[in-house]
């Protein structure tokens, strides 16, 4: 039945967040909510969709949870009875009786007590309702072990009583970072992986990350980095259709056709970035969004602004010196100041973290590009071949192979 699915898609995170915040138990809340949706599938087609479907689902799920708690005798019975009667009364009173607890759930999923590698998967499952199999594919992990890790993380939330609350203002900045990182990682996973026949699941993951960043920017309108992240994802999403040809071949940034861009999304992104800047607290995601804005301006107007892109990357790297950001900076230096300067910068990076770079595809792609522009064709070919060997994306692989062929 269509309406149940639509409601599930729109409300899942909100309903689960509410139940989990109420019970402190994510896993049981998930089970109870799943049962409530099943019940809805059985009842609604016969009896019609209730006037307030969310409230109906919450009540059904709460009853299931209460049954479970009564059975386990873990919570004082009378407390639950009062709460249940209370929620029924509230539900009759008003449509919007359910506070949005998704923000609290996001902070729970990215709590420092939980393995950082599980922040994003946990968030995707609880807030967005994605199944373990889809999440596992996005992160190149076996579905069985992803499911196990999710169960373990949820058990930890319950056992350690990780609080369902928005951190106090002095802790908010550092805790918010983890939330932003997790959403950005979800978006990154949707980009990094090319899944030929499953392209739709990639699209859905990028849509979901966009939706999460939008939600977060609405829930925290005074946090510039939340707005910055939303602007960044909007910029990237707006250019999505210009990144590939119809047959999936890779198109590099400078060759992208602006007429394929989503102009409304770009406008929204620029607006978001302005709003963030007005709050006068610069951060990594605002800088990354500003870089995207610079790319858009350059390709649209044909003005060379690589020097300012380098400046923005300098700031990004000083805030968060990831290998990806460092290499993007070197790449911008190559465009702005030429191969010799880029070579020096790359050599410095190599001496700092040689071990991690060796299996990092972007490193070999950037190195090959610098060597090619320095006229070191044989070396360039060898680096680009290593980049091909480390590529997961067949479109990128054939793009690099073509480039190698052109060097001959």
């Amino acid at each position: 039945m269509k309406s149940v699915e639509l409601i599930a898609r729109g409300s899942y995170g909100k309903l689960l967040a509410f139940l989990a915040a109420w019970s402190g138990d994510v896993a049981s809340s998930e089970d109870a909510l799943a049962e409530a949706f099943e019940k809805a599938l059985a009842h609604w087609p016969r009896e019609g969709v209730p006037e307030n479907p969310d409230a109906w689902l919450i009540r059904a799920a709460k009853n299931r949870l209460a049954d479970r708690f009564r059975h386990l005798k873990v919570v004082v019975n009378s407390e639950i009875e009062i709460e249940l009667r209370e929620s029924e009364r509230r539900e009759r009173l008003t449509e919007e009786a359910w506070p949005d607890e998704r923000l609290k759930l996001l902070f729970v999923c990215t709590h420092p007590a939980i393995d950082a590698a599980m922040h994003t998967p946990l968030m995707l499952q609880t807030v967005l309702g994605l199944d373990a199999k889809t999440i596992a594919s996005s992160f190149l992990v076996s579905p069985a072990s992803m499911a196990k890790r999710l169960v373990r993380a949820k058990a930890k939330i319950k056992a350690a009583r990780i609080p369902f609350e928005v951190p106090s203002s002095e802790k908010l900045a550092s805790r918010l970072d983890s939330v932003l990182e997790a959403i950005y990682a979800a978006y990154g996973a949707s980009w990094d992986l090319f899944r030929g026949e499953e392209a739709s699941s990639r699209d859905s993951l990028s849509d979901e990350s966009l939706y999460l960043s939008e939600t977060l920017s609405q829930l925290l309108p005074n946090e510039p980095e939340a707005l910055g992240l939303h602007a960044l994802i909007l910029f990237c999403q707006a250019r999505q259709r210009s990144r590939r040809t119809f047959v999936g071949a890779y198109i590099p940034l400078e060759k992208q056709d602006p007429s394929f861009w989503d102009q409304r999304m770009i406008q929204r992104a620029e607006g978001m970035l302005h709003a963030a800047a007005a709050l006068k607290r610069l951060g990594r995601f605002q800088l990354e969004a500003a870089i995207q804005s610079a790319h858009v301006a350059r390709i649209r107007n044909g003005t060379d602004n690589w020097a300012s892109v380098v400046q923005l990357y300098d700031a990004v790297v000083s805030l968060s010196p990831s290998a990806g950001a460092q290499l993007a900076r070197v790449s911008a230096i190559l465009e702005a100041f030429g191969a010799a300067t880029a070579e020096t910068q790359l050599a410095r990076l190599e001496s700092e973290q040689e071990g991690t770079l060796r299996s990092f595809q972007p490193y070999w792609a950037v190195k090959g590009e610098i060597q090619a522009r320095s006229g070191l064709l044989a070396e360039a070919k060898q680096s680009l071949r290593t980049a091909v060997g480390l590529s997961i994306d067949p479109g990128l692989r054939s793009y690099l192979l073509d480039k190698i062929a052109q060097l001959s």
Partner: protein, 123 residues
């Protein structure tokens, strides 16, 4: 502690035939050789080979006490075993990363299997 895994690349026969197609051979081998070089460079390879066409295979079974020898591979599937690597890596996640980089993952299937530990007879 490292663990050994076998990466089995199953290739679509149409894709395997590119090996001998003058127009497509370069791209085909380019992708494979780059992968082989990268995985060797990582220092994790303990063995591996590419295999000739499935049509060159011969399958032997013992049926009711009688030997049966058949031309061709044992399974008539669209994707056929085209090669394998034995790698030694810390865990399955790392093995899956190399499986994803395997060119056959884009136009066939790549299977990752732990190598059976050698039986011990110390007691």
């Amino acid at each position: 502690m490292s663990k050994q895994y076998v990466i089995l690349n199953y290739e679509n026969l149409e894709v395997s035939k590119r090996r001998d197609d003058p127009k497509l051979a370069e791209a085909y081998w380019g992708a494979w050789m780059a992968y082989v070089e990268a995985i060797n460079e990582a220092g994790i390879v303990r063995g591996g080979e590419g295999l000739d066409y499935p049509s060159t295979a011969t399958t032997v079974t013992l049926k009711n006490g009688k030997q049966v020898v058949q031309d061709g591979p044992f399974a008539d599937t669209k994707e056929q075993l085209a090669g394998f690597f034995i790698i030694e890596v810390p865990n399955l996640d790392v093995a899956l990363e190399w499986a994803a980089r395997n060119p056959a993952s884009a136009n066939g299937k790549v299977e990752v299997r732990p190598v059976l530990p050698k039986p011990t007879h110390d007691s």
